[in-house]
């Protein structure tokens, strides 16, 4: 067993863990933060996406012991108290979900993605990767969100919600 302190959504928790426990399992099974979902458990679906120091990662492939000292944000830490994050509101408004299972991962992934885009990061569909900034077209949003699958097929609503949130942030 390894003793670590994990910072999740601004609060620190002391944990006694086996090294093989994934960050996803620790969040769900030990900390009761069941918003983060387990889909494939092999990094293929994105349902387990959380933010580590603001960067999106697959918590299923992350060993929790590796993330001691990092700032983890889960879907439970996205809203400001009772007030949903504008992206969450946009997901509701645009029907960016049906069953909702992939939604926490979609929201966390989109937050990480918007930060990457704001920092000027190109994507695989960016025509000129050396450009300092890239317009966030629907094609860019789809490519950048390809690590999050939605088996209900709510992609059009997801893209619309992200686009609207990005535009709102720029205004």
């Amino acid at each position: 067993m390894v003793e670590i302190k994990l910072r999740v959504n601004g609060a620190e928790t002391a944990l006694d863990l086996e090294p093989r426990e994934s960050l996803l399992d620790v969040l769900r099974e030990r900390m009761g933060l069941t918003g983060t979902k387990k889909g494939c458990d092999q990094g293929a679906c994105g349902a387990c996406t959380v933010l580590a120091d603001g960067e999106r990662i697959n918590s299923c492939l992350a060993l929790a012991v590796q993330y001691a000292g990092r700032e983890i944000t889960t879907i439970e830490g996205v809203a400001a108290g009772d007030r949903p994050h504008p992206l969450q509101t946009a997901f509701v408004r645009h029907d960016g979900l049906q069953c909702g299972y992939c939604t926490p991962g979609q929201v966390c992934s989109a937050l990480g993605m918007l930060a990457e885009h704001a920092a000027g990061m190109p994507s695989a569909v960016t025509a000129d990767v050396s450009a300092e900034s890239v317009p966030l077209t629907d094609a860019e949003i789809r490519e950048r969100m390809s690590g999050n699958l939605c088996r209900c097929g709510a992609y059009n609503g997801i893209v619309a919600a992200i686009r609207e949130t990005a535009e709102g942030a720029r205004r």
Binding site: R20, E55, I57, L61, G112, M121, S123, A124, N148
Partner: protein, 331 residues
């Protein structure tokens, strides 16, 4: 997953001594491949030496105008670096075409080079796989082999090396810096990954106690106008059926410099030397591109399932070179 010991190293010396002391230990970087393989039971190290706290995260310009990249730089950070995007666009494109945003944020540059094949028989403990179990044979040969290699294959293994990043790096003549308690050595990436031969479980020349500490990119003026083209079964987040990393410089209509490498078709990141030889000094025409592509694929050994990759690779090489030379004409 089998339980294992965990050690977090904060300096390189500690990590190197730990791996020397424990032959069953493995280094843990981003974990995107190793953790998955441990869960599948393919890998079962006794101890993981976590190297992500080591100070190997810098990207620095070298005195000769090249780039030195710390082994623990995350894939996404390398792709986003302004000097990579300006001077080696094929490398940024190759990285961005691989995996997902989440995985690129986790995966390290050193780990990307060491990632193992996604051959389903390698993952399936009930199948015969000489990569997983030395000498066990190969169920991919004569099995479902649509995604398997046509270049660099042997009687013991036809598994594809899955990396996109490494394809661009072999085209760019990158050099791997590796350290052990015995010292530091520099290994050209073109000689880093090995052919499967009769020992497909051996995938590179790295010793078990060696740690990749950096990747060095030599200056490469031709790479400023380069590209990476990836063909796959879906538009994003899939491994390559065929990929091409290319840089070409045309002077007075003649190919003056060219770099070409292939992914998705070979057992290791494949530098296309035959095609380069064919192109150098030739007129930069589509016919010459076709001749060069055919010269490279002449050595292909196919199965009924993956024979299509030969034509697909040839067409993708031609299309990539055509795009690059057209872009030049209009510049």
């Amino acid at each position: 997953m089998r339980d294992f010991g965990y050690l977090r190293a904060t300096d390189v010396e500690t990590a190197l001594h730990a791996i020397t002391a424990e032959p069953e230990a493995r280094f843990l970087g981003g974990g995107t491949n190793l953790v998955d393989l441990m869960r599948a039971g393919v890998e079962s190290p006794g101890t993981l030496i976590d190297i992500t706290a080591l100070p190997l995260t810098g990207i620095e310009e070298t005195p000769d105008g090249g780039l030195r990249v710390g082994a623990l730089v995350r894939n996404s950070h390398l792709a986003a670096h302004p000097l990579v995007r300006a001077r080696y666009p094929m490398l940024a494109q190759a990285i961005l075409s691989g995996a997902s945003g989440q995985l690129r944020n986790m995966a390290t540059v050193g780990g990307n080079l060491l990632q193992r094949t996604r051959c389903p028989y390698f993952y399936d403990g009930a199948a015969r796989c000489g990569k997983r179990e030395p000498g066990a044979g190969c169920d991919a040969i004569g099995g479902l082999s649509r995604e398997h290699a046509v270049l660099g294959v042997g009687d013991a293994c036809i598994a594809v090396h899955p990396s996109d990043m490494a394809v661009a790096l072999v085209a760019l003549d990158a050099v791997v810096e590796a350290r052990s308690t015995r010292g530091t050595r520099r290994i050209p990436l073109t000689g880093f990954h090995t052919a499967p031969g009769t020992t497909p479980h051996v995938e590179n020349v790295l010793a078990a106690d060696e740690l990749i500490t950096a990747i060095e990119l030599p200056p490469s003026p031709v790479a400023a106008a380069s590209g990476y083209r990836k063909v796959r079964d879906r538009a994003s987040y899939a491994f390559a059926l065929v990929s091409v990393a290319a840089a070409i410089e045309v002077r007075d209509g003649v190919v003056a410099r060219v770099r070409l490498a292939l992914g998705g078709v070979a057992t290791r990141p494949w530098r296309a030397y035959e095609a380069e030889r064919s192109l150098l000094g030739a007129r930069a025409t589509e016919a010459a591109f076709r001749t060069a592509a055919a010269a490279e694929l002449a050595a292909a050994v196919v199965t009924p399932d993956n024979a299509f990759k030969v034509e697909l690779a040839e067409r993708t090489i031609v299309a990539t070179l055509r795009d690059l030379t057209r872009a030049k004409d209009t510049a």
